[in-house]
């Protein structure tokens, strides 16, 4: 357990046992920038990301007493963010089907070779977007991602590889970045 993990646990205990607002605000300051960045890259909308982080923190504090410390608090919170995003995707499934390969970018997206990485990530199918954002941008390990998403670490690796391939196609990098 790192020093940061220990601090997180002490702050979490103060929130659970004493409903301590100051402790919560410290946890908020430590983790919200990362949670918000993850939510924004998964939803592609600042308004949606703020709502996701709001709902995720409510859910986290409601269940903070059950946090066992088997993973870091950062990983646990990121998992809640991903779940909240998934629930929103399900609710809006007509706009963006969550588990539908039709949402994957096709060859026609090659015309977007000049778009930046954020825009390209937003075009990924949700399951690829999740793994790419969590691994390549936020720096979680495949084991942590597997724990968050309820998949094997191997599945996480496989989806990451496909996400990278789709992104290369969208960014027009296949010719420049030789494997």
């Amino acid at each position: 357990m790192t020093a940061d993990d220990g601090d997180d646990r002490r702050l979490a205990q103060r929130v659970v046992r004493r409903r301590d607002e100051a402790a919560f605000r410290q946890l908020y300051a430590r983790h919200t920038p990362g949670l918000y960045a993850t939510a924004l890259r998964l939803t592609g909308s600042a308004a949606d990301a703020a709502d996701v982080v709001h709902d995720a923190w409510i859910r986290a504090v409601e269940h903070l007493g059950r946090f066992q410390g088997r993973s870091s608090l950062r990983t646990w919170l990121a998992g809640i963010v991903v779940n909240v995003v998934r629930e929103r995707w399900r609710r809006h499934s007509r706009e963006e089907p969550y588990d539908d390969d039709a949402a994957e970018p096709g060859p026609s997206h090659d015309i977007h070779a000049a778009i930046d990485l954020d825009a390209a990530v937003a075009r990924l199918a949700p399951r690829y977007r999740e793994v790419f954002v969590l691994h390549d941008i936020e720096g979680f390990t495949h084991d942590e991602i597997g724990h968050m998403l309820g998949i094997d670490a191997g599945t996480s690796k496989s989806q990451l590889a496909r996400a990278r391939r789709h992104l290369r196609r969208m960014l027009g990098d296949e010719a420049r970045e030789q494997v």
């Binding site: 205990q13 929130v15 659970v16 046992r17 004493r18 409903r19 301590d20 607002e21 100051a22 402790a23 919560f24 605000r25 908020y28 919200t32 920038p33 949670l35 918000y36 960045a37 924004l40 600042a46 990301a49 703020a50 982080v53 709001h54 923190w57 409510i58 504090v61 409601e62 990485l117 954020d118 390549d136 941008i137 191997g154 690796k157 496989s158 990451l160 590889a161 496909r162 990278r164 391939r165 992104l167 290369r168 960014l171 990098d173 970045e177 494997v179």
Partner: protein, 192 residues
């Protein structure tokens, strides 16, 4: 390892150019307000606008409770029948409850006065105290066994004398605390 796993990372410089994203400034207070509304955060220890707003309500509630407890303790210091069983009344409260707001101060103080007068005339109160919000445990990491799952906190207690549990429950139902939305737990005290 499957062939899929050989896909190398994107150009590191490109990924590193992903701009840092700051959450909206108002989000923190919005979340704190929501947690308060659900009883998941108390009224102390905050900052900014929410701190100031809730500090006033928190101080008013604390002052109000002190007045009530002091009135009760001072006026009910005598016990009529020393042989009557004693009961502990544990008072759980939601400290953000509007029933204890500054606006309700006069009516609640008046209620405490009336309730204290009734028990004094019947010689049924042994003592009563308000508890501070501060708390520590031994061992240090132990969970507070009195922390209610619905967010209420143990805010004070009374020791009363009553003929039996039914009468003690009747006293509990009559407390301003219970009528204001608080929860009162009644525990018989074993004679020593």
């Amino acid at each position: 390892m499957t062939p899929d796993e050989f896909e190398p990372p994107l150009d590191a410089a490109r990924v590193s150019r992903v701009s840092p994203i700051a959450p909206p400034a108002e989000l923190e207070d919005r979340i704190v307000d929501s947690l308060r509304a659900r009883g998941l955060l108390g009224t102390g220890g905050g900052r900014r606008t929410a701190w100031r707003r809730y500090a006033v309500a928190g101080l008013a509630a604390a002052a109000l409770l002190v007045v009530g407890f002091v009135l009760g303790a001072r006026s009910l210091g005598t016990v009529g029948d020393d042989a009557a069983p004693r009961y502990l009344l544990l008072l759980y409260e939601d400290r953000t409850n509007a029933a204890f707001s500054a606006a309700a101060r006069d009516s609640v103080v008046s209620e405490y006065r009336r309730w204290a007068g009734q028990l004094r005339s019947r010689g049924m109160l042994v003592m009563g105290e308000e508890l501070s919000e501060a708390m520590a445990t031994v061992p240090e990491d132990a969970r507070d066994p009195h922390a209610a799952s619905d967010g209420r906190e143990l805010g004070g207690f009374f020791v009363v004398r009553a003929a039996d549990l039914a009468q003690a429950l009747e006293l509990a139902r009559g407390t301003p605390h219970a009528r204001g939305g608080g929860v009162v737990v009644v525990r018989p005290i074993n004679p020593t």
